[in-house]
Each structure stands twice: as structure tokens, then as C-alpha cells.
Symmetry: C2
């Protein structure tokens, strides 16, 4: 007996398929230029089937952004073996994230458009971005504080301020590169991480 396509897949697999199609279409045509109908078509389900999984295009966008973050972190963690103090390892990961983003222009652009268009970005994307910023800042702050406790990082710095600077530089360099594709943001990011390694990391290399 033939079953419908919707019945063949479990919820999580179907969700993943929709997100994957959305990433491809958003990257090609932008958030505004992609309709829910087009995503449904690419996934081979009905638009109401899609809305069963994601109640709006905004909600789907936040899932896409979360998935991009997830993929980025997976790719940089899997590609390399890291050694030395935790903060030095974090700098390696930051450099790798910027390199990965430089290879994914449309997706990086999508993230900036979705998050930093302060007057017109989807509300759900902005909320998600705030949570992501707090989480990223807290993780990096914790890592720096651990380094201070372990005697690997100089103790006279403001860990939260430094975490914010690193996040700001990634974002600001991406903006420069989105303005001018010939700009090498990977080299620039390494300019910062080199200084921070030299100045902040005091031991354990």
C-alpha cells in the first residue's frame, strides 16, 4: 500500500529536510525573496504541512540561523586537533569560524540581514540573536575566567569585555567583507587573535 510522503518520515527528519531546503533558498534568493510556498515545493510537502512544523517564515528563519551556527561549530571542531590552553584553542576556533564564514558569503549575508537590520529584521530573528549573543558572550567569558584561574591568562583583564570585543570583531569584519568582497577578513581576524595570544596568554603553551 502506497503511503504519502508526509507519513514516511518522522517529524525530526522532515524538519531537518525543510531547514535544509530553506538554507539553500534563503542563500540563493534572500529571506524576503523566498516564500514559504517555494520552501514547501522544494521539500515536496504542502504549505500547510510546512506550517505544521514551523508556524511562520520568521520561526523557520531562527531555526535556519541556529542550524548554521551548529554546522559552523561542528565543522571547525571536527576539522582540527587543538592543543594548548583552552583560550588558545578558542582563538583557533574563532579563526576557523571566520574562515568558514568567508567561504559562505550568501549565508553570512543572510545572518547579518536577519539579525542586524535593526528597523526591519524579523522580531523572532532579533530575539534569537539576543539569546545567541548572551550565550556566546557567556561561554567566551567563562573560558577566559577559567584561563585566569588556571594561571594561563593574565588576571588584570575584564573577561566579559574581552569576550564582547572578540564577538564584535568577528561581526564587524564580516560587515567590511560584505561591503567589499576582496577584503581578507581571515587575515584581519588573525591580526587580533595574534595580539591576544601574545598579550593575554601568559603560560601553558
Amino acid at each position: 500500500m502506497a503511503r504519502t510522503r508526509d507519513a514516511e518520515q518522522t517529524g525530526p527528519a522532515r524538519r531537518a529536510e525543510i531547514i535544509s531546503a530553506a538554507i539553500t533558498l534563503f542563500a540563493a534568493h534572500g529571506y524576503r525573496g523566498t516564500s514559504l510556498a517555494a520552501i514547501a515545493r522544494a521539500t515536496g510537502i504542502s504549505q500547510s504541512g510546512l506550517l505544521h512544523h514551523f508556524r511562520s517564515k520568521e520561526v523557520l528563519l531562527t531555526e535556519v540561523l541556529a542550524e548554521l551556527d551548529h554546522q559552523t561549530l561542528e565543522s571547525v571542531e571536527i576539522d582540527h586537533e587543538y592543543e594548548g590552553p583552552a583560550l588558545a584553542r578558542a582563538f583557533d576556533i574563532v579563526d576557523a569560524i571566520v574562515a568558514r564564514n568567508q567561504r559562505n558569503r550568501e549565508l553570512t549575508k543572510l545572518a547579518h540581514i536577519s539579525i542586524f537590520n535593526f528597523d526591519s529584521a524579523p522580531e523572532a530573528a532579533r530575539e534569537w540573536a539576543q539569546i545567541r549573543l548572551r550565550s556566546f558572550r557567556a561561554d567566551l567569558t567563562g573560558l577566559i575566567e577559567q584561563g585566569i584561574s588556571a594561571g594561563e591568562v593574565r588576571a588584570d583583564i575584564d573577561a566579559a569585555a574581552m569576550a564582547s570585543v572578540i564577538i564584535a570583531t568577528i561581526s564587524g569584519l564580516e560587515e567590511q567583507w560584505l561591503q567589499d568582497e576582496s577584503f581578507d577578513m581571515v587575515a584581519a581576524m588573525r591580526g587580533l587573535t595574534t595580539v591576544l595570544r601574545r598579550d593575554l596568554i601568559t603560560a601553558g603553551e
Copy 2:
């Protein structure tokens, strides 16, 4: 004999008056929320008179952004006496710019909305932003290179990369603060300039 208001003022004075009104209205209502008609009304001239000075709202916006930059630089240069190596002085100015922007939330927001909305910012504003980025980067690169030549700055850094990092940090910290007004971007910026002073400036203090 009574003269019309248009005839009382020279072109440059009238232009300055229009830009000033546009800054006030853009800051209060945003770029999209402000019509040319409203700016004309606030300036007491006709809309066609306004279009004689600025051929579109986009062109007026680029003049507003240029004027904001000009005011920012004037204010930070006038407020303080700076001493020491040129690069150390530049770090003082950078810290002062961030502090000034933190006191001007609506205008800072206006600049970000106008420049970094990569899919919907006015074309003229984006072009202006590219010119501004190149100019800001070239100035800062030149300053760092001068410091290297003068033996005040360590010679093994990529001056252009470092200039890009400083500009990126300003912009990225502003984004964090536009996402969350309680974030202290002045303290965070000082976190970076403190590290850069310590690591890059080798002599002359």
C-alpha cells in the same frame, strides 16, 4: 523691501539648516519614518526648494552621515588634549568616539540602519559607507605605519589588518549595544585599546 526666506540665506547656510533638521527628524522617526516634506516643513522651505539642494532623500542621508562623522571627530578632538605617540592618541580618539556614540543612541542606530542593511539600505548610503570605510582604514593604517617607522610601534604587525580590526570592533560593539542598551560598549572598547597599547606601542610613552 521684504525678501523671501530663501533669498536671505546663502546656499551653504541653507544646506546646513536642512541637514540639521534632517538629523533631528531621522533621529526621532528613523530614515523611513521621515519624509522630505517633513524636513522641508521643519526648515521652512518648500519641498521643491529642498530638492534644489538635495536631489533625493538618499542623497540627504549621505550628507547627514557625513555631518555626523564630522561632528564626532570635531567633538573628540576639541574636548581633550592628547599626548604621546600618534597611535596612542588615536586610541584615545577611538575611545572618545565610542563614548560619544553611546550618548547618541538614535543617531548611532540611524548610521547602522543606513549602512549595514545589506539588502535594503539606500544605495547612496552604502556607496558612501564604502568610501568612508576605505578612508577610515587608510588613515588608521597610515598612522600605524608611521608609528612603525618612528620606532614607536612593533614592526611585525599587518597595519591594514590591525586598522580593520579596530574599525570592526567599534561597529560590532555598537551592534551589541543596539541589541542591548545595558551593554557598556565604552568599557569593552577600552578593553581592546588597553591590550593594543600594551602590545603594539613599544616606545615613546
